[in-house]
């Protein structure tokens, strides 16, 4: 009897709706995910137009203001000022560039490196698969943040190096995921049929495999973004990421740490920003994962 099944097969979109459309549909039907999406879009817009929105753009970028130090939140400075007299709100706004946009870039680059490798490994099998997967295993053998920390330290601290280190330690996850999806697709009838009648590999990959890889990657990327934002915040927090006087949420939490008992606003607001953004990504990820679960391929 048709007892409704909760899991929609990932292969469904092949000849139906595009995976992106399907995901947007799922998000649109869940109020919490919809709210989260709106929040994330607002934060991204805030990052793009940071210098137009910030009430004190120069302070956001690092200009000090010796007479205004440690002001409590007020009408002029909604989130107060720090020990250099800089407006905390402006710094939170400008800081979103390194704390939110850079992690998004990290995930994008990790996918660009990891996904093709995974597709090659899964599609070809044999020694190519063996080599790629063993290298992947090596990277995954490290606790990933520890590897990212060590690479950043070796390259020299700074936002760019931290981002590079994150990409280096994060791409293997997508290799593993995409390889799993590719292998399961390769065994599917439509791919086998295409191979049997001599369709070129490149055509098969572009027409049959790629469209079906997109949704698991997008779901996984959404789930991962929260983690990557937290990790990059952590790198900034211990001083390996963004360097002062530039703002970054993690760095601001660290700066405010010595003053939390009196000037609580210094750490609280940038932390709240991280929390809200990560929460939003996790809420969307949770909903998407309920519908199609990329883990089934690992």
């Amino acid at each position: 009897m048709a007892i409704e099944s909760k899991t929609i097969s990932l292969e469904v979109p092949v000849h139906g709706e595009s995976p992106l459309k399907q995901m947007l549909g799922i998000i649109a039907r869940d109020p919490l995910s919809l709210l989260s999406t709106v929040i994330i879009i607002l934060f991204i817009l805030m990052a793009i137009f940071a210098y137009q929105i910030a009430p004190y753009p120069e302070e956001g970028a690092g200009k000090t203001h010796a007479t205004n130090t440690m002001l409590v939140p007020s009408q002029e400075h909604w989130l107060g000022t720090d020990r250099f007299g800089r407006d905390v709100l402006s710094r939170v706004i400008v800081g979103s560039r390194s704390a939110l946009i850079v992690p998004i870039g990290v995930v994008v680059f990790a996918i660009l490196i990891g996904a093709p490798l995974g597709a090659i490994a899964g599609y070809n099998g044999g020694w190519i698969d063996e080599v790629i997967m063993r290298v992947t295993d090596l990277f995954l053998a490290f606790p990933f943040l520890l590897l990212a920390m060590a690479i950043t330290a070796a390259l020299g601290r700074g936002l760019n190096h931290a981002a590079l280190a994150m990409i280096i330690s994060w791409w293997p996850w997508y290799t593993r995921l995409v390889r799993g999806v590719t292998i399961s697709l390769k065994q599917r009838a439509f791919v086998e049929a295409a191979r049997a009648v001599g369709v070129r590999d490149s055509v098969i990959i572009l027409r049959h495999i790629l469209p079906n890889i997109i949704s698991p990657i997008l779901v996984q990327a959404t789930v991962d973004l929260g983690t990557v934002i937290l990790a990059m915040g952590g790198l900034a927090f211990i001083g390996l990421g963004t360097q002062p006087p530039k703002p970054d949420w993690g760095l601001m939490i660290s700066d405010g740490r010595s003053y939390i008992l009196k000037q609580w606003w210094l750490s609280t607001f940038p932390g709240l920003a991280i929390f809200i953004v990560v929460l939003a990504f996790n809420l969307i990820g949770d909903t998407l994962r309920d519908i199609f679960d990329p883990r089934q391929y690992q």
Partner: protein, 340 residues
């Protein structure tokens, strides 16, 4: 004996991975932009000193020779000397690690003891308000940066309520009134063993905030994973047939289904331990916890490359070891695993 074969194969792969890990770690130290010898001597190094130290450290030899030499030392337990403290890295790690381990262990214990039941209850009442609360709070838990949560609870429990100490592992006065006799270097254990109850209470109180801060993420993750695994298991045929035989719900959920569901949960617990090791570094910074974390952060910021290599290798080894244990446990729980 399939089990034995599985175990041997698993040990062998772990060993190979360890070798790979050591190569990556070694390569890391070689991409340090400045000259390690110069770093080793310090800012006022003269060229001839640098050359001498280079020779001493074997930096003039081909890279493969350097690696083999490094591995030989590592296998003899020599991780080199820290540039910052000039003491052997191994000593630095082994002296500080117990404090980290005590924190990590307490946090993981909390995570399992709280996370697994929450996940089970949530699955049992799927869709009901209990489930909604557990799901929401577990998503909150995994979304909270530890380095921020730590500060928040300090504000609440130290500044506002005054219930718990701000930071550190023990009260500094304790050194004079009730000194802790070090046996295992796990203070909780040491104070119990020596019946030093006043110190025990102090140690426990100091542990509460850091342990909970560190446990927040694992609790959320484990609860989510347990819930998902339980829901999947509860839909299986064998659970339906258990019901058809009239077994009580309690037995079905807590004895049957939980054992089926524990596999995926174990994997997550293993992953979480690794995540929490780095998480512990942040927590240690926030709470001035005298463990490996503070030392690591210092080493990272000062490019103390022997220390960084040592810690990375140590962390990766620990992680590989934990994964090995998880796999063995899983094979032990699920008799089908050793077959493939």
């Amino acid at each position: 004996m399939r089990k034995l074969e599985f175990l041997i194969r698993r040990l062998l792969t772990s060993f190979l991975v360890l070798i790979g890990v050591s190569i990556i770690t070694f390569a890391l130290a070689r991409i340090v932009p400045s000259n390690p010898a110069a770093l080793y001597i310090g800012p006022r190094a003269r060229p001839e000193d640098i050359e001498r130290v280079s020779r001493e450290l074997g930096l003039d030899k081909p890279i493969t020779v350097q690696y083999i030499r490094y591995m030989k030392d590592v296998l003899h337990g020599d991780l080199g000397n820290s540039i910052a403290t000039k003491r052997p890295v191994r000593q630095e790690i082994s002296g500080r690690f117990p404090a980290t381990l005590e924190l990590l262990f307490t946090a993981m214990l909390l995570a399992v003891v709280i996370g697994v039941p929450l996940g089970v209850i949530s699955a049992q009442w799927q869709g009901k308000w209990v489930d909604v609360i557990v799901r929401t709070s577990s998503i909150f838990g995994v979304s909270m940066p530890a380095f921020w949560l730590g500060l928040l609870v300090q504000i609440i429990f130290f500044r506002s309520l005054g219930w718990l100490p701000l930071s550190g592992r023990v009260d500094s006065d304790l050194r004079f009134t009730n000194p802790i006799e070090i046996i295992t270097n796990f203070y909780l254990l040491d104070t119990i063993l020596t019946h030093n109850w006043i110190a025990f209470k102090d140690v426990a109180l100091h542990l509460v905030l850091p342990a909970f801060t560190l446990a927040a993420y694992p609790i959320g993750l484990i609860a989510r994973m347990t819930r998902a695994a339980m829901i999947e298991v509860m839909g299986q045929d064998y659970i339906r047939s258990a019901r058809a035989y009239g077994l009580p719900n309690r037995l079905i959920i807590y004895a049957l289904a939980l054992k089926n569901a524990i596999g995926p949960t174990l994997t997550v617990i293993g992953l979480t331990v690794a995540y929490s090791l780095t998480g512990a570094f942040f927590v240690e910074v926030i709470y001035n916890w005298p463990g490996l974390g503070l030392f690591t952060v210092h080493s990272l910021l000062n490019i103390d490359y022997p220390a960084i290599m040592g810690i990375t290798l140590f962390g990766a080894t620990g992680y590989i070891f934990i994964n090995l244990i998880v796999d063995i446990l899983q094979a032990w729980i699920d008799p089908r695993i050793s077959l493939n």
